[in-house]
Symmetry: C2
Subunit: 332 residues, 2 copies
């Protein structure tokens, strides 16, 4: 039986949506138990009696807030995120989910749980929607701002293994994010990474920003600075288009018929564009599954993040990443 540790207090909206998400996950999936880290007084009343055997509470009251620094988090050993990660380090949990301070989660996971052998830097991966009902895994989206070619190479390997082991894709295609598809395109670092990546199977070469949403490849690799800009740009455009449509609707004479229709369309659109629906973002390259959920996660997002943690913990992700990296370390 898998055990999932969850930082029950770290999110922007307190323990309520997190515990609700956990409860839904436990109801729909009977293969795991949970350790909720947080204030017993607040958490206990949220647990229904029939789940009392499957949720253990690890009591602590210190919560790292979004305004605290990530380095500060390393010292606060009584915080919910510190204790949740420590559970994994000590083998008392198989994976951890946190909607708290993402910098703190990353630092703690990297330093306390440790990196997989051969990984220079862990990376955050996220799923982006496409029009074809499939998703594109993009990494890194924030952990590493300045990357060299070797980092990008490792991200590609980690992304490919995740796509195989957790997303269950056969022979996932990897693309390198660049300013054009041609091999001649790229900046100094991506050109060097292109040469390194040419050795691995299913490398599709350079891809463009639009390819992420076309689903041209299964995995897109970039540094964390660009990954963040890509994510925020996508959110910004989706948001702007939503606003334009709504404004136009208000102006329209047939807005009543339109409103009925649009409610349906928007609901559908939101499911595909809203990143919360995909749950959290896995931190790849550490020795156990760490899922970083958005601070504003609702219960649905937390539920999905927990499923991601379960899927990763049930796979051979970590040993497969190590093996795959070893393969290319020898070849180099």
């Amino acid at each position: 039986m898998l055990r999932i540790a969850i930082d029950a207090m770290g999110g922007d909206f307190g323990p309520q949506p997190i515990m609700e998400g956990l409860i839904s996950a436990l109801r729909h999936n009977t293969t795991f138990t949970a350790i909720a880290v947080g204030d017993e007084k607040e958490l206990k009343p949220l647990i229904p009696p029939y789940l009392i055997d499957r949720i253990e509470i690890l009591h602590t009251t210190d919560v790292i807030s979004m305004t605290d620094s990530a380095t500060d988090a390393l010292k606060r050993k009584e915080s919910t995120i510190f204790k949740a990660i420590e559970l994994v380090k000590e083998g008392k949990a198989d994976a951890v989910v946190s909607a708290g301070h993402s910098g703190a989660s990353m630092s703690l996971a990297t330093l306390r749980i440790g990196r997989i052998k051969g990984v220079s830097r862990p990376a955050i991966a996220t799923l982006m929607p496409t029009s074809e009902n499939q998703n594109t895994l993009v990494l890194d989206v924030g952990a590493n701002v300045d990357c060299d070619a070797k980092n990008l190479f490792e991200f590609a390997i980690m992304g490919q293994v995740y796509a195989q082991d957790v997303l269950q894709l056969d022979e996932p295609l990897v693309g390198l994010l660049s300013n054009g598809e041609e091999e001649s395109k790229g900046n100094e670092i991506t050109k060097e990474a292109f040469t390194m990546l040419s050795k691995i199977p299913n490398f599709a070469g350079n891809v463009e920003g639009s390819d992420v949403f076309k689903g041209t490849v299964d995995v897109v690799v970039c540094d964390g600075f660009i990954g963040n800009i890509l994510l925020k740009t996508a959110e910004g455009v989706a948001d702007t288009i939503g606003k334009i449509i709504k404004k136009d609707l208000k102006r329209s004479l047939i807005s009543i018929a339109g409103a009925v229709l649009m409610r349906k369309v928007f609901k559908n659109l939101k499911v595909r564009v809203d990143y919360a629906e995909y749950g959290g973002a896995p931190l790849l390259g550490v020795k156990a599954p760490v899922i970083i959920a958005h601070g504003k996660s609702n219960n649905k997002a937390i539920q999905n993040a927990i499923y991601q943690a379960i899927n990763a913990a049930s796979s051979n992700l970590d040993s497969d990443i190590e093996e795959r990296l070893k393969l290319y370390a020898i070849e180099k």
Copy 2:
């Protein structure tokens, strides 16, 4: 009377949309004449008799195709783009518009017309739509893949002067594209650029990808690699959302009412999201206005690109960029 040189053959669809755009521009704006560079046999039949006095044809038949290399273009002195740029160099035209090979246009403009004093590298600027009926000028979007902090600093100055002189904005705000708003965010190069930019008036600090579409600032600065990814990502998301909405509409029971409504909404949306509507992208930092239009430009886009060329040529853009850069060169 301003004279605008136009590469009449360089676009993906041949001379037809280019000449139609030129004709519309001439009909709506009587303050300029044009020199159309291309095959006289093809161009002459496209010119209506009442405009024969305002369009001069400079005959040549060689056209740089999209598959030719930019360096190749430097040698082909009989090509339409070479001759169009030479007209500006020789003072026979005040500005040039081309929908041809953009790399060739950039290289030729930089080498033949020359850089403004103080400019290390010219940059391509483009207008992005926001939900607030205003636009954000983003540069560089493709000319310079690897940039240092000084390049980014110069882009900020050039963008600010363009926003003042051509877009007619008072005290335009400049933001530096980064992975977060806080001053501590950024990669090595943007952090250095942040320090340099702190000296200039109306520097708004770091901005995120979503700010481009919110209209938080008037000018957003980034390197050409990231600028290209931002542009393509925006196009990709807009395209994907369009496809999702259309699919959902087909499924909908009230699709007839919806179709009527959506036709209107889409038309409006297209105007704001379609970059063709903004005409071309100015190449900033060369000694005369050079407008690079998309290869797939329709007549409307060409007409707008010509207006941009006229606005830039009627302003003090080039001398103002030189002066502003001189100001900070002394201070440094």
